[in-house]
C-alpha cells in the first residue's frame, strides 16, 4: 500500500472505530425518525369534541351556525375544499343570549364552565369580518379552520338568502382559480413548483454546509492533535507533509461519506419498518410521506411569499411530483461533486489553520474568515429559495466559496434546465480553486506543523508561503 494509502486508512479506521462515531451514526437516524413521528403525532387532529359558547352581538350569525354544519357532507365533494381540513370530531355551538362576554369569560376561567371556548361575534361582523375565539386550551389548526369555515359559510348563506338567491346556485358560480406556473422550456405541463424544488436543493445544500463544518473542524482538530502530540515530526520524516495533510483530509472525507451513506440506509430502514406500526389505521406510508413533506413545505413557502390563497397539492400529486419532476439522478451526482469539492476546499484551509496554531483556543482569528463565506452561502440560499435565479444567486453559485451550497438550490429549483453552462463553469472554478487552496494550505502546513510556541500572525503566514 502506498504511504498516503496508509495514512488514509489510519485516519479512516481510527475514526470509524470510535464510540462517538458509532453512536452518532445510529442515534441521528433514530432522532430524525423520532422527530418525524413526534411531529406527525402532534400534527394529527385530536378527536376531541368541542363545545363552544357563542356570544353573538350581531344577533343573527350565532344562532345560524348549525346550518353550515349540515353542508359539510356536501363540502367533501367540493374539489376546492381540503379534504383533510375538517375535523373528525364534532363541534357544538351553543348560542347564549343571556350571558355577556365578560360573564362568559369569567365562567370559562372558573372551571365550572360546561363549554371549552367562547366564540364572540361582534355587532359589525358583516363589515369587519373578524370574530374572536377565547380559549383555555388552544384549539388545533384544524379545529380553527373548521370554525372559520362554519362562520364563513353561515354568513354566505345568510347573504345569499338576503339577495334572494339559491345557495346551491351561488355555490356553482363561486370561483377559485389556481395559477400553475410552468417553465416554457419544460416538456411537462405540470406546475413547475419552483419553491418545492428549491427546497429540495436547499435541504441538500444544507447537508453539504453541515458536512463541511463538522468534518472540516475534524481535519483541523486532527492536525492540532498531531502537532500537540509531537508525533508529526516522526511522521514527516517518513512521508511528505503534503501526503500527511492529504491523507488526513481524504480519510476524514471518507468517514463523512460513510456516515452519510449509513444515515441514508438507516433512515430508509426505520421509515419502512417502524413507521407502519406507529400510524393509525387507514394510513399508509406513502400518504404519510406526502403529508409530511408536501403541504407543509408548500404552505410555508406560500406564506413566506405572502400568498393568501395558495393551492395545496394533493398527497398523491406530491409523490408523483417528487418522482417525476425532480431530476434525482443528476441532482445526486451534483450533490456528491459539490459535497466533495466544497469539503476539499474548506478542509484544506482548516488543515492550514490547524497547522498554524498551537492549540484550539488560538484558532479563532483564522476561523472567522474561513467560516464567514460558508455561513454567507447558507444565508444566501435561505433567501434565494424564493428567487433562485436572482443575480446574487447566479454569482454565488459560481464563486467557489459559496457555490457548494448555493448551486444545489439553483440547480434543483430549475430542475437542471438551462443550467449546463453555468454548472460546468461553477464546477471548473471549484476544481481550480480547491487545487489552489490545497497548494497554499500545503505550504502553510509544512512550515506550521514544525513551529511551536509562536503566536502566528497573518503576516507570518504570508511569509511561510514563500519558504
Amino acid at each position: 500500500m502506498s504511504k498516503i494509502g496508509l495514512i488514509i486508512k489510519r485516519e479512516y479506521s481510527s475514526r470509524v472505530k470510535k464510540k462517538s462515531f458509532i453512536i452518532m451514526t445510529i442515534l441521528v437516524p433514530i432522532l430524525a425518525a423520532g422527530f418525524l413521528i413526534g411531529a406527525m403525532i402532534l400534527g394529527m387532529p385530536e378527536d376531541r369534541d368541542l363545545s363552544i359558547k357563542v356570544i353573538d352581538d350581531s344577533l343573527i350569525v350565532g344562532q345560524n351556525l348549525h346550518i353550515s354544519q349540515h353542508n359539510e357532507t356536501e363540502n367533501k365533494n367540493n374539489p376546492f375544499a381540503d379534504p383533510e381540513a375538517h375535523l373528525k370530531s364534532k363541534i357544538t355551538y351553543k348560542p347564549d343570549i343571556k350571558l355577556t362576554l365578560d360573564e362568559a369569560r369569567a365562567l370559562l376561567d372558573s372551571d365550572q364552565a360546561n363549554f371549552d371556548m367562547i366564540l364572540y361575534i361582534p355587532e359589525n361582523i358583516l363589515v369587519s369580518n373578524v370574530v374572536k375565539l377565547y380559549y383555555k386550551e388552544m384549539p388545533n389548526s384544524k379545529a380553527q379552520a373548521s370554525i372559520m369555515d362554519n362562520i364563513n359559510e353561515t354568513i354566505e348563506i345568510l347573504k345569499v338568502k338576503e339577495a334572494n338567491m339559491d345557495y346551491q346556485y351561488y355555490k356553482s358560480i363561486k370561483t377559485q382559480v389556481a395559477v400553475h406556473t410552468i417553465d416554457n422550456k419544460s416538456e411537462s405541463d405540470q406546475d413547475s413548483q419552483i419553491e418545492i424544488k428549491a427546497g429540495i436543493g436547499f435541504a441538500l445544500g444544507l447537508m453539504i454546509y453541515m458536512f463541511i463544518f463538522i468534518y472540516g473542524v475534524q481535519v483541523m482538530k486532527g492536525v492540532i492533535e498531531e502537532k500537540t502530540n509531537r508525533i508529526v515530526e516522526v511522521i514527516v520524516s517518513s512521508v511528505k507533509p503534503f501526503e500527511l495533510m492529504m491523507g488526513k483530509i481524504i480519510g476524514i472525507m471518507l468517514v463523512g461519506l460513510t456516515q452519510f451513506a449509513m444515515w441514508v440506509v438507516l433512515i430508509g430502514i426505520f421509515s419502512t419498518l417502524v413507521m407502519p406500526f406507529m400510524l393509525p389505521d387507514g394510513y399508509d406510508v406513502g400518504t404519510l410521506a406526502g403529508e409530511m413533506n408536501g403541504p407543509h413545505t408548500t404552505a410555508e413557502v406560500a406564506n413566506a411569499m405572502g400568498q393568501q390563497d395558495q393551492v395545496i397539492m394533493q398527497d398523491n400529486e406530491i409523490i408523483n411530483f417528487l418522482f417525476t419532476q425532480v431530476p434525482w439522478g443528476s441532482l445526486i451526482a451534483i450533490f456528491l461533486f459539490f459535497f466533495i469539492g466544497g469539503y476539499l476546499l474548506y478542509g484544506s484551509l482548516m488543515a492550514a489553520i490547524g497547522a498554524a496554531v498551537d492549540s484550539e483556543t488560538d484558532t479563532q482569528q483564522f476561523m472567522l474568515p474561513v467560516t464567514l463565506p460558508l455561513v454567507f452561502a447558507y444565508l444566501i440560499s435561505v433567501m434565494g429559495m424564493q428567487d433562485p435565479n436572482s443575480t446574487v444567486m447566479q454569482w454565488c453559485s459560481q464563486i467557489p466559496f459559496t457555490s457548494p451550497v448555493v448551486m444545489l438550490v439553483r440547480y434543483s429549483a430549475n430542475a437542471g434546465e438551462g443550467m449546463t453552462l453555468s454548472l460546468i463553469t461553477s464546477m471548473l472554478l471549484l476544481i481550480v480553486t480547491f487545487i489552489g487552496t490545497t497548494w497554499l494550505a500545503g505550504k502553510i502546513y509544512r512550515t506550521g506543523i514544525l513551529m511551536y510556541g509562536k503566536k502566528v500572525t497573518y503576516k507570518e503566514l504570508f511569509k511561510w508561503l514563500k519558504y
Binding site: T228, E233, V234, S238
Partner: protein, 329 residues
C-alpha cells in the same frame, strides 16, 4: 571502526525569513560511529537534522548518504527520534508501532516480526494492546525508541535523546546506542547538554550561531584542548607547598578540603614536567592523589568559540547564558 564516510553534508546553507539557521556547514560522519552534534540551543542543530531527514531542504549545499545524493528512497535507511516526541494517545501501542513501521516502508509481516523481537527485548510484550495514554512517560519513551530503530536503519539520528528521560532510561538508551553502533549502525546525536554525551561520542562537531566551530575525533579534540593542568590533593602546609618549587608553574585554583587538607590545581609551564615537579614537592607535603585535568566538553566549546571569534572565554560564557535565559522566557 573504519574511516569510511557514510554520511556527508557539504556547505549547507539554510535561511529563514529573518535569520540564517545554517551558514555553510559541512560534516562528515564515519561509518559505525557515534557522531555528536553539539551546540547551544538555537545553534542550528535541529535545522541540520531536519535537512538530513528531508523534512526541509537546504537553500544550497548537498547531502550524501553512502556517496549518493540524498533522496526520498533513503528514508527507510534512516531512523529519526526528534527532540519533540510523542505518539497518538488514543491509538494502541502495537497498532501504532506497526503503522510507523509501514510508513518507513516495511511490509506488515516484517514489521510485526521486528516489533515482536524488540518488545520481547524490552520486556514490554504485554503493552501491545494498551493505548498510549495508559502508559507512563518512561514507557512511552521506550516505545518511541523502538519505533525509531525497528526498521534497522543504517543511519540513526537522535535529537536530544536524553532530554526527558529518567536516569534509568537514559542508561538503557545509552547502552542501546552503543550496542547498535557495535552492530554496524551509524548514529548522529545532537544535544545542547554537552556533558551528557562525552562518554559515548566518537566524533563531534561543535556548532554555534549557525556556523561550525570545530570538528574531529573526540580524543583528538580533547588532547588538543588539554593543558598541562593537574589536580593535586595533599596534606600539609600550603605555604610550604607553594614555596617548594620556585618557577615553571602557576597555581590555577586552590580548595581547602579540611584541616591541612587541600586540593590545588596547577598548570605547568613549557619545559617543565610533572615528575620533576612532584619530586620537588614530595619532601614538603603528603600527596594524596594526582590527576591530569581534562577539560569538559563545555569548556572546550567555550574555548573554541572564543578562539574562533577572537574574544575572551568569559564573554562567550556570558552570551551563552544570555541566550539560554532568552530561550526560557
Amino acid at each position: 571502526m573504519s574511516n569510511e564516510i557514510i554520511f556527508k553534508a557539504e556547505n549547507i546553507v539554510k535561511r529563514y525569513a529573518a535569520h540564517t539557521a545554517l551558514d555553510n556547514v559541512s560534516i562528515e560522519v564515519p561509518r559505525q560511529s557515534v557522531y555528536g552534534l553539539l551546540g547551544p540551543n538555537g545553534a542550528g542543530k535541529t535545522s541540520l537534522i531536519r535537512i538530513i531527514n528531508q523534512i526541509t531542504a537546504p537553500d544550497s549545499g548537498a547531502v550524501y548518504l553512502n556517496g549518493e545524493r540524498l533522496k526520498r528512497e533513503h528514508i527507510s535507511q534512516i531512523g529519526y527520534l526528534p527532540e519533540e516526541r510523542g505518539l497518538y494517545k488514543k491509538m494502541k501501542v502495537g497498532e501504532q508501532a506497526l503503522y510507523l513501521a509501514r510508513l518507513k516502508g516495511m511490509d506488515k509481516k516484517e514489521a510485526k516480526a521486528a516489533l515482536d523481537e524488540w518488545f520481547k527485548k524490552f520486556d514490554i510484550a504485554a503493552w501491545w494492546d494498551k493505548k498510549v495514554e495508559e502508559l507512563s512517560k518512561g514507557m512511552a519513551q521506550k516505545i518511541q525508541f523502538i519505533t525509531t530503530v525497528m526498521h534497522k536503519p543504517k543511519l540513526l539520528i537522535l535529537d536530544e535523546p536524553f532530554s526527558g528521560f529518567d536516569p534509568i532510561n537514559t542508561n538503557l538508551v545509552k547502552n542501546e546506542i552503543l550496542k547498535l553502533r557495535d552492530e554496524g549502525t551509524t548514529i548522529i546525536l545532537s544535544t545542547h547538554n554537552m556533558g551528557s554525551v562525552e562518554e559515548i561520542c566518537d566524533h563531534i562537531t561543535l556548532i554555534n550561531k549557525s556556523k561550525k566551530v570545530l570538528d574531529g575525533k573526540l580524543t583528538d579534540i580533547k588532547a588538543q584542548f588539554t593543558d598541562e593542568e593537574y589536580q593535586i590533593e595533599f596534606k600539609g602546609n600550603v605555604v610550604a607547598f607553594a614555596n617548594a618549587v620556585w618557577g615553571g608553574w602557576e597555581l590555577v585554583n586552590r580548595e581547602q578540603m579540611g584541616e591541612h587538607h587541600f586540593m590545588a590545581t596547577i598548570k605547568l609551564m613549557e619545559g617543565n614536567n610533572l615528575t620533576n615537579y612532584l619530586k620537588s614537592i614530595l619532601d614538603h607535603v603528603e600527596i594524596l592523589s594526582v590527576n591530569k585535568r581534562v577539560p569538559s566538553m563545555n569548556e572546550i566549546f567555550i574555548k573554541a568559540v572564543a578562539q574562533k571569534d577572537n574574544v575572551s572565554p568569559d564573554e562567550v560564557e556570558q552570551s551563552l547564558n544570555q541566550e539560554n535565559t532568552e530561550e526560557n522566557e
